[in-house]
Structure formats: C-alpha cells, structure tokens
C-alpha cells in the first residue's frame, strides 16, 4: 500500500507524533521526516522546544535512513560496554562520518513499506532523557504508527 513517502503522509506522521508528545509525554520537541534518500520532506518544532532540536531531529532521521536501522541500535555501538563486541574496535571511527551528519542518539527510525524496503525515516529530538516509555524513540514510534493505520 505504501510505496513512497508523500508530504501528505509526512504531515500525518508529524501530527501524530506531536499529539503523543503533547498529551502523553507532555514535553515540547521537534520531529522530522526524510525520504528514502535522506532528504528532508517536513519538520515541525513545537512551541517551547529548544531551537537546536529541529536540526538534531533531521540528523536522526537521516542517520536512520543511512544505516537502515533505528539510531537506538547505533547508539549501542558506542556504548563503552559494547565497543569491540558489536562492530569491533573500529566502532568509534564512525563518529563524525557522513559529512558530520551521522547521529548516534536514539530517536531516529527508518520507515519501511510492505516489502520491507526503507522508504524514509523519522527523527525526534527534545525529550531530555529516556524515562520509562517516554523517549525520543517513543515519539517517533507514535508518528510511524499513524502511517500504518488503515
């Protein structure tokens, strides 16, 4: 059903993410949607969210598409307990790559179509730290869920 991300779908996801951030997390934040090449489709910054969050949200979405995995998984590569375990000792060499755009902070998730192909990504920034179910990743998940509602 979903072949390619359109602006209309991106806005739908952003609205859902914003609703969740406002009503459940109760924290203002920024959410961004990029296409399958990592190019920005849309970004929204909620009132009161820090000004840097838009750019971080965009980088998270880009990074999720670039590696086709959630940035939460990428953050584990750099966890001192995992260095040398998941990717070998060179994991730290990834920091600063991708023309400085690679972001290893949780909150970015790739968006896949019915065939499992990555057609875009969503990124969220502004939730101070993961406390229980409240995190940048959970806001992004709320946004993605809206895309799969029939």
């Amino acid at each position: 059903m979903m072949k390619e991300l359109t602006l209309e779908m991106a806005i739908k996801a952003l609205e859902a993410a914003e609703r969740w951030a406002r009503d459940v997390a109760r924290i203002p934040c920024s959410t961004a949607i990029v296409d399958k090449a990592g190019a920005l489709i849309a970004v929204h910054r909620m009132d009161g969210a820090a000004m840097a969050t838009t750019d971080i949200a965009i980088e998270k979405a880009w990074s999720a598409v670039a590696f086709k995995i959630p940035t939460l998984m990428m953050s584990r590569w750099l966890d001192p307990r995992n260095v040398g375990e998941l990717l070998g000792d060179h994991a730290l060499g990834m920091v600063g790559r991708g023309k400085g755009r690679l972001c290893f902070i949780p909150g970015g998730i790739p968006i896949t179509n019915d065939d499992g192909e990555v057609i875009g990504g969503i990124g969220n920034s502004g939730i101070p730290s993961a406390t229980g179910d409240i995190s940048d990743t959970s806001v992004s998940q709320a946004g993605i869920s809206a895309l799969y509602d029939a």
Partner: protein
Amino acid sequence: MGVTLDIAKKMLLAGRGKARTLGILCSIAIVDENGWLVGLHRMDGVPIATVDIARDKAWTAVAFKLPTSDVSRFGDPSTPGFGLNSQNWNDRLTTIPGGLPVKDADQVIGGVGVSGGTLEQDVVVCQATMAVVDG
C-alpha cells in the same frame, strides 16, 4: 512572541495552496523571530536543494528584517551598510528574492522562505502565507 507552530502550519497550508494554484512545486520554510526553523514542508517531487534555499531565504529575511531581495541594496556603495550583502553570515545569507519577514504590526515575529518556482512566483507564495498573520 514569535511564530508559533500553529501559525506556521496555517502559513504552510496557505503557501501550498497558492503554489498549487500557480501550478508550481516548492519548498516552504517558516522560521521564528530568531531565524530558527519552526516548520518546513517540501512538496512531492520538488528538487531537494530547495529545502536549504527556502530555509536560507527565511533566515536572511529575519536576520535583516527585510525581504531578501532588498538585501542586495547593500551592494550599492552609497548605501549605509555597504558590503553587508557580501558577508556570508552563518553560510546562510542569500540575496535571492523569495524570503520575507513576517510582521505583527511593526514587530518582526518570524520569516518565510520559498524556493521552487521562478523568483516572482516564490515571492507570490511568500505573500500568500502572510494572509494568515494579517488575518
């Protein structure tokens, strides 16, 4: 008080409507009174470079509190502020038309930048977004 997300969304909607009327595709960026992005939409099929151009136009409009096309007047040696247009502040400054400051009465509360059509069309889309603020 700067542009809120609510106002930005209405402006983006108005801008997209105008772009459709004109038969063009474009990116539209809305920034707050400090030049920071509040909302940005890229219509389907628009070249991706327009994203950054629209954002830069909006930033420039707020930074100078002038339409981006007016920033080029600083290229005239007889103008006070001569040369401001050639300093690439923040790597963002642009003198391409298509960026306008958003004003509430006399106060600059944000900026809008459009890229994708001809320069004239970009300005028309910018002006269409203003209708939201002007009421």
